[in-house]
């Protein structure tokens, strides 16, 4: 359905981490969405979804930032984010934030219903499959908690990765366990976070995969940062980079090739 149907008018929610830390994920998302027959707009007035404030209990700031997002993303068929966490914030937590505000709720509910995580959007809504994409590697996919439990992203990335030539998926043990990132959690409770990410890394390495991919940059920065600290060689990429044929980009925490 992708090429011939009317193009889908998609607003890209870049996410603050991709904007600041890894723009290549944003460009991978654009490439994939265009290949899937979407027209892309990147609304200027976006910064972050507000999750750091929301999860820290600062409801007032969270609402102010959410209001900014709601305004900036009016009028598109879909809002797509290369992150289950940010998409989950808009889809599930904005309605919670504004539940006592009947006027806002109309718009919030409408925005929530057309907000998607990138990979599940490509798979479920666009029916997209990568063609002529090649990456010679063994890869393990980490299910980020928000993607998995809030956005129900589980089989879609595996299905799309399955269409990448030369790529072999090696599932890790306990793959649905949290990596210990948790936003400000990893700063405030760093020792607990360390224990959690070490458990995760033990399982990832045991899979024998050379490459790790996931759909959320927060988890990836946490895991990659710990892998580097431990001197491990595993290459870390966002799943969008792999799917968009950008698998030769330097992994997280690696210098330029």
């Amino acid at each position: 359905m992708s090429a011939t149907a009317k193009p889908k008018n998609v607003a890209l929610f870049v996410t603050c981490l991709v904007d600041l830390n890894r723009p290549s994920v944003g460009f991978a998302a654009v490439k994939l969405l265009e290949a899937a027959g979407c027209t892309i707009v990147v609304p200027k007035a976006q910064t972050c979804c507000g999750q750091p404030a929301y999860n820290s209990g600062d409801k007032k700031s969270a609402k102010a930032i959410a209001t900014q997002v709601i305004r900036a993303f009016r009028g598109f068929d879909y809002v797509v984010a290369p992150s289950g966490s940010c998409a989950g914030m808009i889809r599930h937590h904005y309605p919670e934030l504004f539940k006592d505000d009947a006027t806002m709720m109309v718009e919030v509910g409408e925005l929530a219903s057309r907000t998607y995580e990138l990979v599940s959007f490509l798979h479920d809504i666009c029916g997209y499959r990568p063609e002529n994409v090649r990456l010679e590697t063994t890869l393990t996919y980490h299910d980020s908690c928000s993607s998995l439990r809030e956005m129900k992203v589980k089989d879609q990335p595996r299905a799309l990765l399955g269409s990448v030539d030369g790529l072999e998926i090696r599932e890790a043990e306990d793959r649905e366990a949290c990596c210990g990132f948790g936003g400000t959690f990893c700063l405030k409770y760093s020792e607990i976070s360390e224990s959690m990410v070490d458990t995760k890394i033990t399982n990832l390495l045991a899979s024998g995969a050379e490459t790790l991919a996931a759909g959320d940059l927060g988890c990836l920065m946490n895991i990659a940062g710990r892998l580097k600290r431990r001197g491990e060689k595993m290459k870390v990429l966002h799943v969008a980079e792999v799917l968009a044929g950008m698998g030769d980009t330097a992994g997280l925490g690696e210098g330029e090739n």
Binding site: V14, C16, D19, L20, N21, R22, P23, G26, V41, V42, K44, A45, Q46, T47, C48, A53, S56, G57, D58, K59, S61, A64, I65, C145, S146, R149, E150, D174, A177, C178, G180, F181, G182, G183, T184, F185, C186, L187, K188, Y189, S190, E191, I192, S193, E194, S195, M196, T199, N222, A224, G225, K228, R229, V236, A250, L252, G253, E254, G255, E256
Partner: protein, 474 residues
């Protein structure tokens, strides 16, 4: 019970460096969760039962006064007594008075979290009455003068070697002088001591998993049969329960029984499910001469009608802690009050105060696994977030955290200014990182750098690059 939740971070540090604790709690994830997943998958209607359980609990909580009074009427009709206690002190006094009326010197106890809440054992001891825990795990931690680290496996933190030493030290007075290492031999030794205690006890105190309104029955589930002996051998049986344990009918209890053991241990049913309805009747072979139900509020009625009412659906199965990566890392005692894990993080602030317990709802990644497995679908992460909001509003959240979020939000609310700050930030971080592509020591971010390197930004921000490509149309 003394609250030590304030020292959560220090406790976590100690637990993370304690080999025995790490060994004990890292085993949790390969045990209970695996068994639960199997049990849930073998019952096709399990997810529907969870919905039904949630809805029924909600109905009960909306009509709590009605069902509690109905329950009381039925207990009275059966010849028992109900004692209403608004707080722990009242409950302790009522229980002590019943024990004194029975001229009690020793009481046997079945597992009960509400009596942990009110520190009943210490109170009875101070008043010259010896309480003896009969659940093996509870017995072990009573001997060790500790408290439960898990709500259904209270001695989870103890290694077999520790139990060997404990029994060797404490059981000499009963004539057991051999140092046992075989688990079955240890169980047998405890069992033979407890058998005598059951017969000698003047009062048996149990908790209650359910109070059944239509019959006036109390229900307890155990895997050891200790509950049966505790409540049927002594002349007096006291069942202590919190207010939210009431269910309308026997049929309703069976719904929750189908959820409870599967969620807790992965069993279809606990080995023993014991119903107590009034004292011994003339035609009964055994049973207590007097039957008391002590119903304790202990702050729970404040939850009714609040935004955290969902907490009162809890069946005390322990599934949330079994699946919690934070609990698995730091163990139960770190939480610093009766309830560990996600349910403790959501409930303890209500029970003992947010200021004391503020770390608990914060020490979560919101991974959502607890809510995913809760048999009555308590939205635990949501309730933890409500506590975070309350802590932020009442300035329980420390100032540096509040200011940090405030400063970040100031920029996040101003996209044009934010662009400038992120542009400078990304370039600076890339420069610091140099060719390595990562930063070992990140300024002002000790929490990050103590554990991980920081993967450096690629350079220009996405928004700047997008604009440069002249694609910024809106």
């Amino acid at each position: 019970m003394q609250v030590t939740s304030r020292h959560f971070k220090e406790g976590a540090h100690a637990a993370l460096h304690d080999k025995d604790i790490q060994k004990a709690f890292s085993k949790v994830k390969g045990g209970f969760p695996v068994a639960r997943a199997k049990a849930a998958s073998e019952l096709p209607e399990f997810e529907d039962l969870r919905d039904a359980g949630r809805d029924l609990k909600n109905h009960i909580l909306e009509n709590l006064d009605y069902y509690l009074e109905y329950f009381e009427d039925q207990v009275l009709l059966q010849g028992g007594r109900v004692h209403w206690c608004s707080n722990y002190a009242e409950a302790r006094d009522v229980i002590l008075q019943i024990c004194r009326d029975a001229d009690a010197r020793t009481v046997t106890k079945g597992k009960s979290m509400i009596t942990e809440e009110m520190a009943l054992n210490d109170f009875l001891e101070k008043n010259g009455i010896e309480p003896i825990e009969t659940d093996l795990g509870e017995y072990i931690i009573q001997l060790a003068h500790e408290y439960p680290s898990h709500i259904i496996a209270p001695a989870l933190h103890k290694t077999k070697d520790q139990v060997t030493e404990l029994f060797h030290e404490k059981h000499g007075k009963y004539g057991f002088t051999e140092r046992l290492t075989d688990p079955q031999a240890l169980v047998n030794e405890a069992r033979s001591i407890l058998r005598d205690k059951y017969v000698a006890a003047d009062v048996g105190i149990t908790g209650a998993n359910f109070l059944i309104a239509e019959t006036g029955s109390t229900v307890i589930v155990t895997n050891e049969g200790n509950g049966d002996l505790t409540q049927s051998l002594p002349k007096t049986h006291i069942a202590v329960s919190s207010i939210e344990k009431v269910v309308p009918t026997l049929e309703d209890a069976s719904l929750f029984l189908r959820l409870l053991a599967r969620s807790a241990t992965g069993q279809e049913m606990s080995v023993y499910t014991t119903f107590s309805t009034g004292p011994k009747r003339r035609e009964d072979i055994d049973g207590p001469a007097s039957f008391h139900v002590v119903i304790v509020d202990g702050g729970r009625s404040d939850l009714v009608g609040s935004d955290k009412q969902d907490l009162l659906r809890c069946l005390k199965c322990g599934a949330c802690m079994n699946h919690c990566p934070v609990y698995q890392a730091v163990g139960g005692h770190t939480y610093g009050w009766v309830y560990p894990g996600p349910i403790g993080a959501a409930l303890n602030p209500q029970m003992v105060g947010l200021e004391e317990t503020r770390h608990l709802p914060n020490a979560s990644t919101f991974c959502g696994r607890c809510e995913e497995v809760c048999p009555v679908r308590i939205p635990l992460p949501k309730i933890m977030r409500l506590w975070r909001e309350q802590a932020f509003e009442t300035e329980v959240t420390p100032k540096p955290e509040r200011w940090g979020i405030g400063l970040w939000a100031y920029f996040a609310r101003r996209p044009a200014l934010y662009r400038i700050v992120t542009r400078i930030g990304a370039r600076t971080l890339k420069t610091i990182a140099g060719k390595k592509g990562r930063i070992v020591k990140l300024p002002l971010m000790g929490g990050w750098s103590s554990v991980r390197d920081f993967p450096a930004p690629q350079g220009a921000t996405f928004m700047d690059q997008w604009k440069k490509q002249n694609r910024g149309r809106k």
